[in-house]
């Protein structure tokens, strides 16, 4: 397994014209040192300027983030449409990259393997071998740091970061957190 390099990952993702972030049920349930996994889905989408396909119940949380275009979608339908070349109304163009987050590997292993001409980046949890790029199985703390570094690399254009484990001090676009009721 190649060592995670936030800058290279960011560069890889930015090469694609039509990325799509796909957020799964884990985004609602997993909390990494106080930060919900769904926040990373929103941040990645905001920095890439791409929409989020929110499966499970993740739409409820993700729509509260500013600067993120998000739509409730159904996972199996999404992959059916991608296989058939059908285009969902809220997508401008067919995606050429899926950034998957919040899905366990055994759940989407076969779906990802079935894709043709669409690259995939898996941001966890776990390691998805069939993805073009995937996180390793590490401690939760390590995983959070990698996600932070990846988001940083995206925000700075991926040009000023040292490779992991160093952190960049470049400024970054902040994605507003979810609006709180009240």
């Amino acid at each position: 397994m190649k060592r995670f390099d936030a800058r290279k990952w960011a560069s890889y993702v930015r090469k694609h014209n039509n990325p799509l972030v796909v957020a799964g049920d884990g985004c609602d349930r997993i909390v990494l040192e106080g930060t919900r996994l769904g926040a990373y889905a929103a941040r990645v989408a905001a920095h890439l300027g791409c929409p989020v396909a929110a499966t499970g119940n993740t739409i409820l949380e993700l729509r509260r983030y500013d600067g993120v275009r998000v739509k409730k979608m159904w996972l199996a339908e999404l992959f059916r449409f991608l296989q058939d070349g059908s285009l969902e109304p809220f997508l401008d163009r067919p995606p050429d990259l899926l950034v998957l987050i919040g899905y366990r590997p055994e759940g989407i292993h076969g779906l990802v393997a079935s894709l043709r001409n669409i690259h995939t980046v898996h941001l966890g949890p776990g390691s998805l071998g069939v993805a073009d790029k995937t996180m390793e199985e590490t401690t939760l703390g390590e995983w959070k740091r990698k996600l932070d570094d990846f988001v940083e690399a995206l925000s700075s254009g991926g040009s000023t970061h040292d490779s992991y484990p160093g952190r960049s001090t470049a400024s970054r676009t902040r994605v507003s957190g979810p609006h709180r009721a009240g």
Partner: protein, 911 residues
């Protein structure tokens, strides 16, 4: 003249002779006379054919035109035998006599004034003639036979029903999710499809084999005791007692002997699919068709098992009860949960799928007078079987959470048989200090077979906490009785809080447990924090699969830690439910057919099944059931799901769902049919629906009732927390007959879904049943087997799957209303495809009509005038008058339509 036979070729002239090969009667005009020559040495003398000891060399035969073509004869009457040219082999006439299928027109049966050619409606009538004649006599009238191209296929093979399977698979194409797909490397799409379809077939074979074997074990036992003539009778309330069997075999078994015949058919079909799978190649569609066929066979086997249980083993059934008394029967008396067990008493727990172990053991304990002083319980399906024969039985957990029940140390002895869900009962029970007695011929645990030892010696082994294997059920029952007669005291060890605390301190935070956990629970975070609330939250979400313990490098007994820190939750784990009631009555279905299909007072009938393999403190199913019942659905359950549905108490009334809703197959009814095999009664209801609603024969006739159900019946199945491939084969069985299935929340673990594409409009077509014209329809139901991630998705999708293209106005209104309401409630927005299903503003709920018409105008560009739709936007994106919209889209209400071309009404009848 009247008695002279008629020539079967021309059907006009008087027959004078008979074909020497096939036996058909022939007139002088239609007969052919041919010579054959035996050129063996015994007949050839100096090149001339002569008579030998075997008779004349030349023989003359009368044959029909067809036989003359098929056989190598020398033609011509009166021609001399030739003595030139190459030698030709002698012809043996009559080899195939008796084997050949009857010719067209040879076997006729009169229905009214219509002579039905049996060879046309049944591909191979040999050995089935009497059965087919009986079906025609009982099930068909002349008008119906004239209307449709009827097919009657008794003892159907997968190829007999492939026509329907292909129609389904063309619209709902397989979406493969399993690991097999990833192993194809650079293989072509076709090759990958074969690999995946084979994987699906193998899974279904394994699952169906379990059901067939279970039925065979029980039926054989019943045959030994009662003999083949023992009648199969479910009671006066049940009109169609064996639909799953009849639709495949052509008959409803009247006795155990006929049930044996039906099960033999299933066994033969299972073996055929095994042979196909073993070849490792094939056409993907054919392989998927065979997998669907196994789904139907699975329900046939389950039905045989259920009938045997009710007729021979006194399983609880409401078959003889008047319908008006069924609503509150059986009583809500079955305790569920570990908190309902009196641990001061000796506790016996059953685990596994064999009901014979329960039958013999409970009977023995009752004989010995031990039962009243004990707690007799069941884990998973065993519990559901137990409470249908033993009034004081209790259900501890679902099958998926069996490890929770075992490691909690509740039981003092576990009697285990084979289980569809692989659980290391012996190893896990040992950690809790509980001995296990494994019994039955199919149980496969790493234990030495001690069947030959004395009962007393075996009981002593158990008292020393040694697990044993005793194959014979009766002997195992004796051992259990001996164990409890001289009870050694509590055996199970309840997890200790102090010990658990010490274990948790060993946690290094490596998070191996997080990565192993199917639910990605943050176990180490909770352990290291030492926060009991955090640990309790993990307990609530835990599947109790044990993968965390296997992964932990420090060998922390994670499940023990969770149980020890959640003792209060165990104590409060106490609910009540009705035991399974068995089959559904004729009257219930008659009313349901009108209530759902015509009345449209609820979105549909939703069946809840599952193995408990999900997180959320077992409340998901109760929450789903409550939501669906509130929407006026009919909710049916069986197996482990039936207990989980009861895991909810209304704080206002203190009642469980079972106590709040009637046990009737009616709107807002909640029915528990029984254990895992009892879902055959639910499956049978699909066929009863077609029989009652459409007058369709359900004997050796599959496509018609399936076509009817898929396109008219608002049915859906939710399989929540499936733990094994057995649930996948059930899903296949339901899907094949038109009841779409939802799998969750771990549905993607299974290898194959059947997913439609609403944007592929070529897939959404039906034949107008009168004109044969192909019409575009709504994407309804949108999928056949679909995976979801959350219970909110499950409820919303279940309602959406109740859309049918032939729905009448009120049912369509109910489904649109509930679909849009659920989607907004759970996801905060309307679904983007609800407009596909709207045919008239009258299909919008009167309280929401103005709002939705406004949405149609503003967001979809429809032309609305007050409460009327003037123009609608069709699927091409064009704005057209409403009349034109309906002219080209959807099925006119009340119009007959079908997906099967040969079921389009015949021209002659229409005239």
């Amino acid at each position: 003249m009247a008695d002279s036979p008629v020539c079967r070729v021309c059907n006009q002239n008087e027959a004078t002779e008979r074909c020497a090969v096939c036996g058909v009667d022939l007139c002088d005009i239609c007969k052919r006379v041919v010579h054959s020559e035996d050129i063996s040495a015994s007949h050839r003398v100096k090149g001339v054919s002569t008579e030998g000891i075997l008779g004349p060399a030349q023989r003359k035969y009368t044959v029909c035109g067809t036989c003359m073509v098929e056989a190598e004869f020398f033609e011509g009457e009166g021609e001399a035998a030739r003595d030139a040219g190459p030698l030709t082999p002698s012809v043996r006439i009559g080899r195939l006599e008796g084997f050949k299928r009857p010719r067209k027109g040879q076997l006729l049966h009169k229905v009214g004034d219509l002579a039905v050619d049996l060879t046309e409606i049944t591909p191979d009538i040999r050995g089935r003639e009497a059965l087919v004649r009986q079906i025609l006599q009982e099930e068909y009238i002349e008008t119906r036979l004239r209307q449709y191209d009827t097919r009657i296929r008794p003892f159907a093979g997968s190829h007999d029903l492939a026509e329907w399977d292909r129609i389904l698979l063309e619209r709902y194409r397989p979406l493969y999710t399993g690991a097999a797909l990833a192993c194809g490397g650079r293989a072509s799409e076709d090759a990958r499809a074969v690999v995946c379809a084979l994987e699906t077939l193998r899974e279904h074979i394994m699952a169906a084999a379990k059901s067939v074997a279970s039925a065979r074990e029980l039926l054989d036992e019943a045959l030994k005791v009662f003999g083949p003539d023992k009648e199969v009778e479910l009671g006066r309330s049940i009109a169609y007692k064996a639909c799953n069997t009849a639709v495949l075999t052509g008959f409803e078994p009247r006795n155990l002997g006929e049930m044996d015949r039906a099960l033999e058919y299933a066994e033969a079909q299972l073996i055929e699919q095994m042979v196909v799978a073993a070849q490792g190649c094939g056409d993907p569609v054919d392989l998927e068709s065979r997998a669907l066929h196994l789904g139907s066979l699975n329900f046939l086997a389950s039905e045989i098992e259920e009938l045997t249980k009710i007729c021979c083993f006194d399983y609880l059934s409401t078959g003889d009860m008047p319908v008006k008394e069924m609503a509150f029967f059986p009583a809500v008396r079955v305790p569920i949960g570990m908190g309902c067990v009196d641990r001061t008493k000796p506790v016996l727990a059953f685990f596994g799928d064999s009901s014979l172990a329960i039958f013999y053991t409970v009977g023995r304990l009752e004989e010995e007078g031990l039962a009243p002083a004990m707690e007799i319980t069941g884990l998973g399906n065993a519990g559901h079987e137990l409470v249908r024969i033993y009034e004081h039985g209790k259900i501890l957990t679902s099958t998926g959470k069996a490890l929770k029940g075992i490691r909690a140390g509740v039981a003092d002895l576990i009697v285990a048989t084979e289980s569809c869900f692989p659980v290391d009962v012996v190893g896990q029970a040992a950690k809790a200090g509980i001995p296990v007695l494994v019994t039955g011929s199919r149980s496969s645990y790493p234990l030495a077979d001690r069947s030959g030892e004395a009962v007393g010696a075996l009981a002593e082994r158990l008292k020393k906490r040694e697990s044993i294997l005793v194959r014979c059920f009766e002997k195992a029952a004796d051992v259990v009785a001996a164990f409890f007669k001289d009870f050694p005291g509590k055996m199970g060890t309840v997890p200790n809080r102090t010990v658990a605390g010490q274990a948790m301190e060993r946690c290094t935070g490596c998070d191996a447990c997080f990565h192993a956990c199917p639910k990605s629970l943050q176990i180490s975070t909770a352990f290291k924090a030492g926060d009991p609330i955090a640990v309790a939250e993990v307990y609530d979400q835990c599947l109790f699969c044990g993968r965390c313990e296997e992964a932990c490098p420090e060998q922390i007994p994670v499940m023990d830690c969770l149980l020890a820190c959640s003792a209060g939750r165990l104590a409060s784990d106490r609910f009540r439910m009705r035991p399974g009631r068995g089959p559904l009555s004729h009257l219930e279905f008659r009313d349901l057919t009108f209530g759902l299909v015509l009345g449209g007072n609820g979105p549909g009938m939703v069946t809840l099944l599952g193995c408990g393999h999900y997180s959320g403190s077992d409340e998901d199913l109760a929450a789903m059931a409550k939501d669906l019942l509130d929407r006026n659905c009919v909710v049916m359950t069986a197996g482990c799901a039936a207990a989980d549905v009861a895991r909810s108490i209304d704080p206002a009334t203190g009642k469980t769902l079972s106590e709040q809703y009637p046990s009737l197959a009616t709107l807002k009814g909640l029915v528990n049919c029984g254990g895992c095999s009892a879902d055959a009664h639910i499956m049978a209801s699909m066929f009863k629906f077609a029989r009652l609603g459409g007058g369709i024969s359900i004997k050796a006739n599959f496509e018609q009732p399936a076509d009817y159900s898929l396109n008219r019946a608002p049915f859906a199945v939710i399989i929540w927390g499936p733990a094994s491939e057995k649930m996948m084969v059930k899903a296949a069985g339901f899907a094949r007959v038109g009841a779409p299935v939802i799998l969750g929340p771990s549905g993607l673990r299974f290898s194959r879904m059947l997913v439609g594409n609403k944007y592929d409009r070529r897939a959404w077509i039906m034949y107008d049943g009168l004109t044969g014209e192909l019409r575009e329809i709504e994407p309804a139901p949108p999928h056949l087997i679909y995976p979801v991630e959350t219970k909110e998705e499950a409820v919303t999708m279940a309602i959406k799957l109740c859309f049918t293209p032939c729905a009448l106005r009120d049912p369509r209104l109910s489904t649109i209303d509930n679909y849009t309401e659920a989607h907004e409630k759970y996801f905060g927005e309307l679904p983007d495809d609800w407009t596909y299903y709207l045919r008239s503003p009258m299909e919008l709920h009167v309280m929401k009509r103005m709002r939705f018409l406004d949405i149609l105008r503003r967001e979809h560009g429809w032309e609305i005038q007050r409460t009327s739709v003037v123009k609608a936007r069709n699927r091409d994106g064009n704005l057209v008058p409403m009349d034109e919209y309906l002219e080209h889209y959807g099925i006119k209400q009340g119009r007959y339509a079908t997906m099967v071309k040969r079921l389009v009404m015949r021209e002659a009848v229409k005239e």
